[in-house]
């Protein structure tokens, strides 16, 4: 028995010792040379290049400051939100987060991120370093900014040059009505005028937002939702009508995600592919239309009009891309600003653009790209992008807008845009959006 007891004592000492050692090693990370933790979106198009970029950034930063950078990735905005929740609650986690532009208002509403002081901006290299348009969704106003523009991904429209030339069309129209006329001309057999992803979780609201703001309705005015306005209804009728009544979209598009719309265009089955970013280039350059397509900005004249409304905005795209934010709980804020300074410098942005095809937010670097004809439309759209409303409830408004399209799909197959059903769905979207906005006050 004594031997057994001794063995037990020894065993428990070993177990306890190991556990304590484990605790000790984890707390060592807060030593002299801090390590910065950065959370960014996983790049599914260039995974290998992204890993290499992580390593290069860390090496370069270590040379400059003696501190390393570790990168974590997330797959979706929901993953990221969960990470923000757990980190903000526990007071530890990534020092820097990369946020999609339209998610920035929600993240701002959590109050978990550092509002940048003039001093902070100086540490990053000054506001003047950035293209003015890219700062449009950094915060609710100039003195409450959390987001530092890092990458720009404006939306444009791809078109099939051969199909347009064959139909005698010299360039894509600048109005949505004009685009529809062209699409009708181009719809023949199994080739359709437009490739639209009605089944996508995000694409639909971007169309509705664009057509509405061009008609003078930014969807939220002074905390009031404007989804029940005629401009929004017209936008839905136009967008849904392309498939239901105008028949310029493949009927199968009711189930398409964005990638399937790109695939249909890539197979030469559609003349126009609106609402894509420069990242579609990777797929299209390997497709049947490689060398036969070009990008153009999307129409800026709203449906049923011949010019942008007097109070409208000729927006070609939502302000799209990534912002960097610094967590309030971070113990390495100065170091974080140093890293952001490095990442938004002209040479870093040049490398990032060359590696991933995402446009720079650095003004000097962006000016250089303007002379490249292949990028003309995309750079043009970057300058004509407009921010979506900066409101903590924007994600909910977005969801309400997409929901109208999802619930309309069964009716589209019947060949009509059911007016009564659309009114009902818009009324529900309005009340859902308003309820969310009321909570944000």
């Amino acid at each position: 028995m004594t031997a057994r007891r001794r063995f037990l004592a020894l065993a428990s000492t070993v177990v306890l010792g190991t556990a304590l050692a484990a605790c000790g090693s984890s707390s060592d990370s807060g030593g002299k040379k801090a390590t910065l933790d950065v959370l960014v979106s996983a790049n599914t198009i260039y995974p290998d290049q992204q890993r290499q970029w992580f390593a290069d950034v860390s090496t370069k930063f270590e040379k400059q400051t003696g501190s390393k950078v570790t990168f974590e990735t997330f797959a979706s905005a929901n993953d990221e939100l969960t990470k923000i929740q757990t980190s903000a609650l526990s007071g530890q986690g990534p020092d820097i987060y990369s946020l999609g532009t339209t998610f920035t208002p929600t993240a701002y509403a959590t109050g978990a991120f550092e509002v940048l002081t003039p001093d902070d901006w100086t540490k990053i290299g000054g506001k003047d370093r950035f293209l003015p348009a890219t700062l449009g969704i950094s915060g609710p106003d100039d003195s409450h900014q959390v987001g530092i523009p890092f990458a720009s991904r404006p939306f444009v429209m791809a078109y099939n040059k051969d199909l347009l030339a064959a139909a005698g069309i010299d360039k894509p129209a600048d109005s949505w009505d004009g685009l529809l006329d062209q699409a009708k001309k181009l719809t023949k057999g199994d080739v359709h005028g437009l490739a639209i992803a009605y089944g996508d979780g995000f694409d639909p609201w971007k169309f509705i937002w664009a057509m509405s703001i061009q008609a003078g309705n930014p969807l939220i005015v002074d905390g009031k939702a404007q989804l029940d306005q005629p401009t929004v209804k017209t936008a839905y009728e136009t967008y849904l009508g392309w498939l239901a009544t105008d028949k310029v979209v493949d009927p199968a598009a009711t189930g398409w995600k964005n990638a399937q719309a790109i695939a249909a265009f890539g197979a030469g089955k559609a003349a126009f592919l609106p609402m894509v970013s420069a990242t579609s280039k990777v797929t299209l350059d390997k497709s049947a239309v490689a060398g036969k397509y070009a990008y153009a900005i999307m129409p800026t004249i709203p449906p049923g009009a011949t010019a942008t409304a007097a109070n409208g905005v000729p927006a070609t795209s939502i302000l799209s891309g990534d912002n960097l934010v610094v967590a309030k709980y971070s113990k390495n804020k100065d170091l974080a600003f140093q890293l952001i300074n490095m990442l938004t410098s002209a040479d870093s942005q040049d490398l990032y653009y060359k590696t991933f095809g995402e446009l720079p937010t650095n003004a000097t670097e962006a000016a250089k790209l303007q002379s490249d004809p292949a990028l003309a439309a995309i750079v043009d759209s970057a300058g004509k992008s407009h921010n979506t409303p900066f409101n903590g409830a924007w994600s909910q408004v977005q969801l309400a807008l997409v929901n109208v399209v999802v619930q309309s799909v069964p009716n589209l197959s019947k060949g009509t845009v059911d007016d009564a059903a659309l009114r009902q769905l818009l009324a529900k979207a309005q009340s859902d959006a308003q309820a969310a906005l009321d909570k944000s006050q």
Binding site: L89, A109, G111, S395, L399, V409, K414, K439
Partner: protein, 334 residues
Amino acid sequence: MTIRQTSPAAIGAPGAEDAGRPVPHGGAGQPVHGRRDRRPRRGRPFWMLAPGGVLTLLVVVIPFLVAVYISFLDLDQYTFRRWVHAPFTGIDNYVDAWRHSDLLHAVWVSGSAAVIATVVALPVGMAAALTTHNRFPGRAAVRSIYLIPYVLPAFVVGTVWRIILAPDGVANNLLHRLGLDTSGANGLWLNGPRSYWALIAVQIWASWPLIYLLVLAGLQSIDHSLHEAAALDGAGWWTKLRSIVVPHLRGPVALGLLITVLHIFNSFTLPFVLFGVPSPHDVEVLPVLTYVESFQNFRFGLSAAMAVVSLLLILIPLLVYLRAVRLDVGEDDR
């Protein structure tokens, strides 16, 4: 030769026939049946349950209590950072879920789909088990093939069926070749009224192997001597099926039905991948609704209230089952 009569329901109860179970104060090793032993049970090493108890407390009880507490808070993207200080709103979230959300509709969709899919999956699973019960060349291969839907992750099942059921997918091609109309709404399986049946069909496809597994295990556990004895008594296949096989399968089948219903009722990944969010109204199931309220609408309090309601609903069939197989009472109380 004696045929030991075991309660058929007890077959589904793990450990029901545990020969090594302690026999308390029964004397002479005779199990005590039919009367309650109310004497204090001193000296039992209950402390050995402590690790399991602590784990249950940490993993189940505390998170559950936190969820219940959250369901009484107005917790959203504006308050979650200091969630303990979020406004306490009493039962407002439950009222909101009841009156202003699609909760009832979602409960109906989830519940009815789960019951229909399970009822259809039952004969499919049983038939599959009967076909592979007896030895034949290649039985191992057939058994492995039967398990494919069961071992595939729900994400893969959802993605594959999404492609199959797309308007220009394989399913519509096949139906078209069979001379059926697949144009317009007739070929729309991932939205609209038909999506409900698509959900059920895919759930059946993914669920029947579990019933198959349990039934097969039940069939295999029937003592061969029972069949022999029945054969000696001159029983035909029908009598054997009715008097030996069916009573013995009642336990595994009941367990299979319960697990399948609960699994489908709780299924999130499959409908999420198959139909996406926002869900089409006809397939707005409870888990996806709860998810959307949490992670797209950021109404964590409302979502927690929905989760609590969901748990209470799940408890109903679970308690019925526990009563049926008497797993909720001690071995000695049976």
